[in-house]
Each structure stands twice: as C-alpha cells, then as structure tokens.
Symmetry: C2
Subunit: 274 residues, 2 copies
C-alpha cells in the first residue's frame, strides 16, 4: 500500500479504486490475510458469526487467519471486573456469568501484515475504556494505512472511533448501547438506523448478529467475481442473510434517538442467490 | 434423576412430565448446568451460535457452562487429516483452511452433572467415524439418563443417533450432508424438511445457523415463565429468530430426498416478542 504521507488522498482513493474493480481483481495469488481482534469480555458472536463465514469460504478461497490480542494466549469472553459507578456506588452489571476462552495466535506487537481487520464489541470494551487501555485503538490506528478493509461489529465501532480513522466518516454500532457509543469519536456521523454502514473501506455493523449480515455483504463485495462461491457458502451454513443495510428494527426496539420510526420491524429472507 | 433400571419408562416419562410443567417449574435455585461437546473439526457456529444465546441469557439466569472434549485443553476447528477415499484414491475435502482453538474445560471423564447437553456437527464428525472414535456417542449414551434435555446442531445428530438414544425417535440434521446422515442410527425417523425437530427431550436442528433458531425456541420453552427475559436477550443480540420449525428452504436448496418441494424459500422475521 502507498505510504501514508506520499499521496495524501491515496489512502482514501486507492481502496475506493480497488473497490470499484473488485478487491480480488488483482492477478496475485497471495492469500487474503484476515485479522480478528479479541480482548477480555469480547462478545462471542461478534467474532464467531463472521468467523463462521470466513472459515467456510476458506474451503475454496485462500485465506490466512490471525486471532490478535494484547498478548498471545487464552482470551476470555468474561469482562474483567468493572469500576464502581461513582453515582450509585455500585459496580455496573458484569454481563454473562459464563465464559469461554479462545486462543489468541498473535499479539498487537507481532501480528502479520493484514488485508482485513475485524474488531468486535462486548462489555470488555467498556472495561478497556475504564482502565485507559488504548491497545485496541492504537493497533487500529497503526494498521489502518496498510489495510484493504476495516470491519467492526457491535461496539467495536467505538474502538475504531477512538483510533481516529473514523474522522469525517459514517458508522453504526449496536443499538442497545447507542447513547454510550455516540459519545465517542471526533467528527463521526453515527447512523442511528442501519444494520451496517459502509464508508470508503470501513464497514461497521449493528449489534452482534448483524455482523453475519455485514460479512455476507462484505464477502459478496470482496469476491464479487465469484458470487456462486459466496452463496454456496452461505447456503452450506444454512444462514438466510439480511441483505438490506437499512433494515434496523433494533434501533426501534431500543428506542435509539433519531431512528427511523417508520422502519419495518420485519425482514423477509431466503437462501443466498435465490 | 431416577436410576436407569428402576422405573423402565421413567427416563422417558420424567423428562416429558418436566417438559409439560416447564423445566423451570421446580422451586429449586440450583443453576442450570449446560455442557457443550467439542472435538477437532467441530463447526464453529454450531456451538458459538447457541453459546451466544446461553451466554447472553446467563446475565439474568443462573447457568453454569462446561466445554467438554476428549481431554481438557485446546480443541481446534480444523479436522484431523481424513482417510483416503478407497474409490478415488484421494483424500476427501478437508474443509476450512483456517482454524481457531477453544479451551475445553472438562473431559468426557470428568464433566460435571449436566442438565442440558449440546452436540455440534462439523467435518470432524466424519473423522471420528473414520477412526472408530466413539468417545462422543459413548458420552451421550452414558449421560442421557440424567439429562433434562439433549440438543444437537447440524451433524451432531449423527453422534446422537450412534449413541442409541434416538431409537424410535424423530430427528433432523443439516441438509447438505443428508445422504450421509440418514445412514446412521437404528429405527430413527429422519425428518427431511425441518429447521429443527423436538421428540421428547431431544431437540435436533438443521445445519449450523439453524442452531440459533432451535436454541431460541428451546430457551422459550425452558424459561417459558419468563419470555420477557428470553426476548430481551434475543433483541440485545439483535437476532431476529426463525420461529417456524417447519421452515426449511435448505432441504430444497440441497435437494434432500423427501423434502417438501412446496415449502417456502422465504421466511419473514422480526425482533423477539414483536
């Protein structure tokens, strides 16, 4: 990728150009390097939904995967203890009482070159903020110039906003945490009714399960010259994707300020390609 | 639970009775113990979809979780190498080229008492069969009498069939592997068009993403006295569940023999409780 200072607009133009011709329009046979960030208290389906799609399409597409944490090793879905609320004097809810552990194969320090980086949300995001831990957003800021695409699910958009790369861009996030989300980022246009938003090479989705819909749309874009493979994959995993990025009943359910009150609560879905 | 030989029909009647009054109709405050089996080459979303729902509802419900493998330790989503096809002389497809690792917290030998046991599918199932590894089905057979409920996603139904507990029962499985699935189990009624099937206390779902729909229905049953909590959970994770167990467009897509050819490819979904 072009160094950041070289052509000031290149980092915006080059991905747009690639998006126009299709990201796989190059003749290179290099595998696509996908990185997924994890931190204690990440929301499971934020990564595992997309991971199922990436994993499944890797049967036929050349993909390399890195699970990237503060350090190499096990990372739990359980958030660390949270700071006491200064107003109530009580600790806030700690979320799920059960937890599982995934192996982070890389750290922020040693992650390989990446084409695609995905950032999950989860209650752990709030703990990072409470502890002034900027590891995730520093990693995003450092890597963004070399990425082809940056993706987030749920409150992962907060990390992206904090990194600064969302400046002047549109994004969305999960709707139950909306009031907290929109306090982040400078000059970010937070879109209150959206299953997912695309601005340049940054794709941000609404909460949790919305990540799967966004990634189906993303893979339809990334492998646009092979929709048969994308649809074969989504039908193999028997997921009927939501294909309208504007469909967002959860903005209504969670009473997001500015949500489209006339938006449909219902979406009719079917197998991919049908 | 009643010992297996004591009342010969009790193991069938008692769960049915409990199902009738609602599993949480007891006054006990004991947590619900959920076990999820893993093996090399399990399909990620088979467990992570249900795990997201179990995890989320554990914010308000008392749940304990065990991830159970052949041994305690890391378990990969990558199947071990497969046997060479005797006809072609070639190894069959190895599935996804990328893998992640989850920590199994327990083994078949030391897993705690369980109320609910969930069995995933995945290509790893075929490898277990090729290697005559009966660990999963032996565990199912041993634990079934003490379970309140047994669940499977995708080809996890094959393990359940092999354990013998499906004898005389109805079940379904994923549709892309249907021809292989139905060669398993004695006196099993394999239902070709079904998102999921319930027979007694055994719930079996179609492929991968169908597990989430089945578990939403299951939790609606298990916590039937608190549907508000179940719907709050599903809306928090922004998943609009498929609520009709008969909807199965993938049986049509994958040309399953006996599938209902007039079944709808389309299902219209919305937030829980709306």
């Amino acid at each position: 990728m072009v160094p950041k200072g070289f052509f000031p607009r290149a980092c915006t133009l080059l991905p747009l150009l690639m998006a126009t011709i299709g990201a796989q329009g190059t003749k290179t046979n290099a595998p696509t390097s996908i990185g997924i960030v994890v931190f204690p208290g990440y929301e499971p389906l934020d990564i595992w939904g997309p991971l199922e799609l990436f994993s499944s399409i890797s049967r036929t597409k050349d993909i390399e995967l890195s699970i990237i944490g503060h350090e190499i090793g096990l990372v739990t879905t359980k958030p660390p203890p949270r700071a006491v609320d200064p107003v109530t004097g009580l600790p806030p809810p700690t979320g799920a009482r059960v937890a599982t552990q995934i192996l982070a194969t890389h750290s922020f320090a040693n992650a390989p070159p990446l084409d695609i980086l995905l950032i999950p949300g989860g209650l752990g995001n709030r703990v990072l903020e409470e502890r002034n831990d900027t590891g995730v957003e520093d990693f995003i800021a450092a890597r963004y110039p070399q990425l082809k695409y940056l993706l987030s699910v749920c409150t992962g958009a907060v990390s992206i906003a904090n990194s600064g790369v969302l400046k002047g861009k549109k994004a969305t996030s999960n709707k139950a945490s909306w009031k907290w989300v929109v306090t982040h980022g400078k000059n970010v246009t937070w879109v209150p009714s959206a299953r997912w938003v695309v601005d340049g090479n940054i794709w941000t989705s609404s909460g949790v399960a919305a990540g799967m819909d966004m990634v189906y749309a993303f893979l339809s874009h990334y492998y646009s010259n092979d929709m048969a493979a994308v649809n074969e994959m989504i039908n193999l995993i028997e997921y009927a994707p939501h294909e309208d990025p504007h469909w967002d009943p959860f903005a209504i359910v969670h009473k997001v300020p500015g949500a489209d009150p006339n938006g449909s609560l219902v979406d009719c879905v079917k197998p991919g390609g049908y």
